[in-house]
Amino acid sequence: MVKLSQKDILKLANLAQLKLTPEETAEFSSELSLILDYVSQLDKVDVKGLEPTYQVTGLNNVTREDKKIDYKLDKKLLMENLPSSKDGQIKVKRMIA
């Protein structure tokens, strides 16, 4: 059975930019091990000769013409939704030292 330690959980949380409380970390560690145990039933399924199904529509080459589109976007709302802005730019915590 796959065990996910709390350290493993924290590593994943770090990748996902998600701060977890110690309680959440402990809880996820035991729950996720159970869930992974449940999904391990797939190990027994024989998939020889099959190709993975990423999409079910059978569509391909769905493209658009290289033309401008008016999406009728409410630009005012777009900018009002910004948590922080300056001179029309998105203001974020400093990216590089």
Binding site: Q55, V62, I69, L78, I90
Partner: protein, 494 residues
Amino acid sequence: MINKNKYLYKGYLPTIGIECHVQLKTKTKLFSGIDNDARDAKPNTLVSHICFGLPGSLPVLNEEALVLGSKAGFALNSRPQRNSHFDRKHYFYPDLPKGYQITQFEAPIVLGGSVKIVVNDEDLVIGITRAHLEEDAGKSTHDVGKDYSLVDLNRAGTPLLEIVSEPDIHSSAEAKAYARELHLLMQYADVSEANLYYGNMRFDVNVSVSKDDNLGTRSETKNLNSFKSVEKTVDYEIKRQVDLLEKGQAIVQETRGFDDSKQRTFSQRTKEDAHDYRYFPEPDIPPIVLSDEFIDSIKLSMPIMPDAWRASLSTAKLDSAQIELLLESEIENPSVSYLSVINQFLDKPEELKKIANWIINIEIPLRKEKPSLTLYDDSVRSKQYIEVFKLLNSGDLSSNGTQELITYLLTSEEEIIDVSVFANKKGLTQNSNKDELGDIVSKILADNPKAVDDIKSGEDKVIGFLVGQVMKASKGSANPGLAQKIIRDQINSL
């Protein structure tokens, strides 16, 4: 096998691979119908819900990106893959709105290929691993001394082709030549504006050094936007790494930047905080299946590429410096084409050589000097050049007159069709009529008996004086070579 010895620096062999991001010349972004040209736009004005990564926004692929990506495939001496698809690449950064970049990981549009370069008269082939389509990130600025950065998403979603080379490069000169050649290829294939100033082509340079057959730890210097910075980076990194190793220190695998003012690289982040990108196939974009018809039509649409020009032009005995000058000049100003004029003479080596020389020596400098010069159709210019060639060949035009005539033709405010009439009117043709010239010469000889005697007594250089007199008398229209011949004939028969 390469000759390692010539590359060795203090006994270390440098190995270089280059990743180049080429901005594709589409009108709109890769996944949204928003203007691609953000050069003069105010921040966050060329954006949609897609560029902003709003909830519920979905990418819709620009068909032109497939055309340009396929052209690039042929330009890279390869061909587009029949099957390709997009994947998501995950990392968090404020200029990456969705928290993932849509790129091609598993099945890129181009696999394999090569680029030929010439360094020190030696032909080299640099392998291309792959080229894939992906969206660009936004642009961020970091004002000095502030605790914040500002993000503009106008550039987010601009289509890029990332071209990944094999680690086949071993010197800064080769790196520079490769970058330069890619730049030519992308422009000739009409894939990109390839304007380096605007960052249309950005190079990431991977450098490692090693004393044995194993590759050393590499550094990756990102976002170089000139051939010179590519060259300087390679030189700097080879020296830095070898110096470290010589001091017994280890190379850290890391991302570096290039400081233009100091002409050196600097550490940006080490691989410790490297990402696990968690790629998986993009479920919002159905896969790409290019038909044979599509691939063939792209192949047919490919223009003459630099290597083909080099072959044609060198058979016309142009030297490689001239050829490269022509190839470079061709793309400097997208509204002028020299090669399409030259193209008319590919099967006439004599004309080709002459006209190519005129273009190199007269037209190109002239247009550089006066960029606003009226440009006549390629067909008009071709006709004018062939007329000039005929006039020169028949002796009606002097070499000096040729330069003047071509300058007139190029700078004229009206299109000049009948070149010889025009040359006559401008007094640029020379008189080659023997009878007329004979009369003038007889008169000059009669007026200058002393000069005639001097020549007879062996002072041959005096003949120049007599030719000058004939030119003066003919108001410059005489063919000086013919005048000299008649002078000698008449003196000998005196």
